[in-house]
Amino acid sequence: MSTRRIFAQPARYAAIAPYLWMVLFFLVPFGFVLKISLSQTAIAQPPYVPVFDFTEGWAAIKAAFAQLSLDNFKLLVSDNLYLSSYLRSLIVAVTSTLILLLIGYPIAYGMARLPQRWQAIAMMLVIVPFWTSFLIRIYAWINILQHDGLLNTVLLALHLVSSPVVWLSTDTAMYIGIVYSYLPFMILPLYATLSKMDPALLEAASDLGASPQQAFWLVTFPLSLPGVGAGALLCFIPIVGEFVIPDLLAGSSSMMIGQTLWLEFFTNKDWPVASAAAIALLALLVPPLLLYDRLQRRTLEGGR
């Protein structure tokens, strides 16, 4: 019996407690979301009519199945509010991911070209904002972007504008907030692939007569595509469901799906519709999640 095998036994038992925890507090709650998304709204506490009542035995459960309603989902598809917030989430996520790529790539590229000891410091500098509070970083931007904030003061002093510009409650402010918050998520995977690249490849390209620009587009960029994919998905997925940033920085005229869910839940107290919105949001995220998982596996296997 090999040592590995002897180890595997107790190590497996180590997984029991976290396994049960995740089943109880991650998997089972999704069951509740699904169940409540299929039930009727009621003015009560909690504000829905339970579909299943396990205390009354199988007959009751069978009867309950007959009552399951897709009304909430029909509402999601037919009501313009939901469709437009769905669409807006997608547009905002795609646009922000593209901006993040445009800004993050040059930074990651610069980092990968730093001398070795500086690279560690630069990496630390990129990670630190990830540790500092997300809410505080958004708040910092409100300070800067408000009517008599720093940005307007500077713009006025430089005579670039003649009167204060409205920044808050606009899409511009929201995009600044999103890009600011998610930049580390884009830079780190890009840097990881770019720093692993063999410099000999670029030398070969230049020996064969490629200009630095040609070498970049023909060698560096194609080889960094796994990092581009990982960074893009790592940003896209959470941005689709983003709530705090659009709520604090964007105007209230159009909402993202996360905001709609929040509104239905906290303001309208319509738990079934909020649950249906959560299921719909989750469905939207499954394809990119699977793609990300596949990409990660390929990178891991390629690395071996």
Binding site: F7, A15, P18, W21, F25, I107, T132, S133, Q146, G241
Partner: protein
């Protein structure tokens, strides 16, 4: 010659400088304005600590801060315990039934929108008829942050040389002893880093806490969030600065711990 194609161009330097300025300037500005004497956030009225005094006289804010610190400490501790066990199970457990479901459940919360996690946990707590407050928020934060702990510890554990454990077992340790006396000391820095990450994530969360908390037990981010929606207040700048200072201390301790363990590992290597 590597220098020819791999040197830093002015473009690279500019991109780096602008990138770092973008990442850090807003935070620096926030910290500076927290010491502003003027009530108008944007008019500089000289240095002052009055907004810090204001915070320490604000009963509701102080309660929220105390609640947040308790939730963060307790949830980070449970999350570190469970996350470390999960990492050991994933790295050393080889194949077991439901392994891919297990790893899926651990990775999904890392990118799952918080509104979904928050809503689903609240529905569970309502169904269980649990009283909402300290413990429900703590459980919710534990569930999220243990996944981050797992990733941190897992990557350290996977990079360890197994022959050390095997040597310990050849010398008569059973697997559990070998793990506790050989492996555990080596992964302690990762476990500590995991705890600190869990602590800061919990201290930061507003969405999941909003769903899972009950009346009268708001966390600090929930209070900050509701104040911020009403507009900028200098007191919030002061609170944010203190949170940043606390997190900075945590990061310094974390990096010192990892440096210490690295140098220990190096000095132990010749043995």
């Amino acid at each position: 010659m590597a220098g020819r194609v791999n040197r830093l161009s002015p473009f690279n330097v500019t991109a780096l400088a602008l990138g770092m300025a973008f990442l850090y300037l807003p935070i620096v500005i926030l910290v500076i304005y927290s010491f502003n004497a003027s009530r108008l956030v944007t008019v500089w009225g000289g240095w002052s600590l009055r907004w810090y005094q204001e915070f320490f006289n604000d009963r509701a804010m102080l309660d929220a801060a105390w609640m947040s610190l308790r939730v963060a400490a307790v949830s980070a501790t449970i999350a570190t315990l469970l996350g470390t066990l999960a990492a050991v199970g994933l790295v050393r457990g080889e194949r077991f039934k439901g392994r891919s479901l297990f790893s899926g459940m651990l990775y999904a919360p890392l990118v799952m929108p918080e509104v979904i996690s928050g809503l689903s946990l609240l529905l569970l707590f309502v169904a269980l008829n649990a009283e909402r407050g300290f413990w429900t928020v703590t459980i919710a934060h534990t569930t999220l942050t243990m996944c981050f702990v797992t990733v941190v510890v897992q990557s350290r554990l996977a990079s360890l040389d197994r022959s050390l454990e095997e040597a310990a077992m050849d010398l008569g340790c059973d697997p559990v002893q070998a793990f506790l006396s050989v492996t555990l000391p080596l992964i302690i820095p990762a476990i500590a880093a995991g705890w600190m990450l869990a602590f800061t994530l919990s201290l930061d969360d507003v969405v999941i806490a909003s769903f899972t908390t009950g009346p009268g037990s708001a966390t600090l981010p929930i209070r900050i969030y509701s104040e911020v929606r009403l507009g900028v207040k200098p007191e919030i700048n002061a609170i944010c600065t203190m949170v940043i200072a606390l997190i900075a201390v945590v990061i310094v301790i974390a990096s010192l711990a990892s440096k210490l363990s690295n140098s220990e590992a190096k000095s132990a290597a010749p043995l």
